[in-house]
């Protein structure tokens, strides 16, 4: 018999709680290893985007999910990473060097944002990060000698060890996969280290953390820096994948998409970042599918329920018109965000854990295990 719950500290910090995990992740890894040679090039390309978004998601998760500091400015960190890559590449700097420089530079900027953020909480922090992102966006548009302004910047294919790695090649796919895997492993290790424990303590109660001797300011700045650096690494890959970058790519919209990644996936585990990234990348193909196929299907259903041919045709045109309306993507985003915040704040991965626990404990599962604590807050002005 396997114990369902943790019995000692070793259990809590194991990367693989039991052998089953090694088998599942092995299968997943094997699938990912053959994927670029089996799947269509379109799907492989989408998977690369999933890896990049998931990397950003993990980075954002360290800050928002584990340290409890909200940020709506991560598009700016991504932009700094991407532009560093684009700029240094012009001077034939080798890939490993500018990859690292991008991470270090973004991390430094992140720490610089972290310092002023020390005094800010909740909503003020959100607004400050939004402002920061706006300012970076404007700098990118105006600093033309470096960024080429609104015309944007071409990013050449990646050069590594004398070979050219094109953005659609399997090598690039494996590079992104490796970056994601290393990021996730590093994050998991970070979280079971004293630093990670301090992050979680700050999230749960800053006052309590401080009275336990956690240097809150130091760890908040660290969290900002690490989160930004990971996003910067992702930015380099993002630039190479798109092969063209311009300021209007890195808007508030993108920052919100990153938040959606961890909101929908679940902000408490890297699994969540991956699930959320899959969701956000796949929503576009899904909407295309919706436009093309669903009107016909609905009309067919209507016909089987006794609607006349004429009526079915009307239904089909109306649904098609609705599905191809310009703003539909925004509406679907909106509804999904609201539904997840209201009904599944732990995200897709949280839902999966609940289902799993239900079967593991079969007659003993109780809903209260995952119940959120309601705190009818006293004014945050008095914090």
């Amino acid at each position: 018999m396997r114990f369902m719950f943790k019995t000692d500290y070793e259990d809590d910090i194991k990367l693989f709680p039991h052998g089953g995990y090694i088998v599942t992740y092995g299968i997943l890894l094997a699938f990912l290893a053959v994927a670029p040679f089996v799947l269509s090039s379109y799907l492989v390309s989408q998977m690369v985007f999933v890896f990049i978004y998931a990397t950003v998601g993990v980075g954002l998760m360290i800050l928002t999910g584990f340290t409890g500091q909200a940020s709506l400015g991560h598009a700016a960190f991504l932009a700094i990473g991407a532009y560093t890559a684009g700029y240094l590449q012009q001077y034939n700097v080798p890939f490993p060097v500018y990859f690292l420089v991008a991470g270090v530079l973004t991390g430094t900027v992140g720490a610089m944002v972290g310092f002023p953020a020390l005094r800010l909480q909740g909503i003020y922090l959100v607004i400050a990060t939004i402002s920061f992102a706006f300012i970076i966006e404007e700098i990118l548009a105006r600093w033309e000698s470096v960024t080429h302004g609104n015309e944007g910047m071409r990013v050449k294919a990646l050069q590594f060890l004398g070979t050219t790695v094109s953005r659609d090649s399997p090598s690039f796919y494996f590079l992104c996969l490796a970056v994601l895997a290393i990021t996730i492993l590093a994050t998991l290790n970070l979280l079971r280290s004293p630093t990670g424990r301090a992050f979680v303590a700050i999230r749960d109660s800053e006052t309590a953390a401080r009275s336990m001797g956690v240097n809150v300011s130091l760890y908040k700045v660290k969290s900002f820096a690490i989160s930004a650096a990971i996003t910067g690494f992702a930015g380099v890959l993002f630039a190479h994948k798109l092969s063209f970058i311009s300021p209007e790519m890195f808007t508030l919209q993108l920052s919100i998409e990153f938040i959606i990644v961890i909101l929908i996936g679940g902000a408490f585990s890297p699994h969540g970042a991956v699930l959320g990234a899959i969701f956000i990348v796949m929503i576009d193909p899904f909407l295309t599918y919706l436009k093309d196929d669903v009107p016909g299907m609905i009309a067919a259903v209507a016909a089987t329920f006794g609607a006349g041919a004429e009526m079915a045709a009307t239904i089909k045109t109306n649904v098609a018109a609705f599905a191809s309306a310009n703003g539909l993507k925004g509406a679907i985003y909106g509804v999904i965000i609201v539904v997840f915040v209201l009904f599944e704040p732990l995200g897709l991965y949280g839902r999966w854990l609940k289902i799993k626990l239900f079967f593991q404990l079969f007659p003993l599962y109780k809903r209260a295990t995952f119940k959120r604590q309601k705190i009818y807050v006293k004014s945050e002005r008095n914090r």
Binding site: P116, F134, L328, G330, A331, I337, V338, K374, I375, K378
Partner: protein
């Protein structure tokens, strides 16, 4: 000199617009400690409602105005009931995300229903200018300034002099304690959302001749209203308007005297500096957390 005064006045007019939107933020924040990221979009929706009543149904301007305000007040209550109430008492970030989601939804639904063209409402203020010496002031801008002052005064009195206003302040200080004192907190929150949607609608209708109505107008102006609200101290009604005017003047001065590009960044730079030096804003009050 004349240039300066003209810039100053147009900055004040622009600032009053930000102030009006910031008023909506402040109302909701004052009563529930929730920041409504969809405030700008409520304004946009109010404008579309007024357009429907006045431009499509052909009602009189004032009748359409009142109709839009009432309709939006009801809509505000509905939005609160569906989106905000279930998560009241959960971490603030959840509520921010929920209102961002609401904003997305409203924007794209408005785009689908009313189309993506710029719409215009015929108002009594659309034409004509007031001349003082060589200063030129358009009536539509003056109407915004006047309405801002009136609304601000009314709301200030409402919050400080009426029972309902006091109840709202009490529930913002401590929801649970207010509930124990017999204040129907849920109903209070609902009313606050109605008022804030009504204020947003007033802003939207007054703005219609200046910015026109399109589905993204709320997003653009709403994001500019944030610095205004923060500058004024997020919980203060006069502060919102003063902050709005300051931001408006800064923006208009930066556009005139500084190189291109500063105009858009200046409000956010000011915001960051204010957050660094005086996070509680100009009119906010600061208190320590008790453990």
């Amino acid at each position: 000199m004349l240039d300066f005064v003209q810039q100053l006045v147009s900055g004040i007019a622009l600032g009053c617009v930000y102030g009006l939107i910031a008023l909506g933020f402040v109302l909701v924040y004052k009563a529930t400690e929730v920041v409504n990221f969809a405030q700008g979009d409520l304004m946009m929706l109010g404008g579309f409602f007024a357009f429907t009543f006045i431009g499509i149904l052909g009602l009189n301007y004032w009748l359409g105005f009142v109709g839009a305000v009432i309709a939006m007040a009801l809509f505000g209550m509905l939005a609160e009931r569906v989106v905000v109430r279930p998560i009241l008492g959960y971490p603030q970030f959840s509520i921010i995300m929920a209102t961002i989601g609401l904003g997305y939804f409203l924007r794209s639904m408005a785009g689908i229903i009313w189309g993506t063209d710029d719409l215009k409402i015929e108002t009594p203020f659309s034409q004509g200018v007031l001349r003082i010496g060589s200063l030129v002031l358009a009536y539509d801008k003056l109407s915004v300034i006047a309405a801002t002052i009136i609304l601000c005064a009314l709301l200030y009195l409402f919050f400080n002099r009426t029972t309902l206003g006091t109840a709202m302040r009490a529930s913002s200080e401590n929801m649970l304690a207010a509930y124990y004192m017999g204040i129907p907190v849920k109903r209070v929150v609902s009313i606050v959302w109605a008022i804030s949607a009504a204020v947003a609608t007033a802003a939207g209708v007054l703005l219609a001749p200046i910015t026109f109505i399109h589905s993204n107008v709320g997003l653009v102006l709403g994001l500019k209203a944030f610095p205004a609200a923060v500058l004024g101290g997020f919980g203060s009604i006069p502060g919102a308007v003063v902050g709005g005017v300051l931001i408006g003047v800064i923006e208009s001065m930066a556009g005139f005297y500084l190189p291109q590009g500063w105009k858009d960044v200046a409000p956010y730079l000011v915001l960051l500096i204010v957050l660094l030096l005086k996070p509680e804003g100009l009119f906010g009050h600061h208190a320590r957390k008790k453990v």
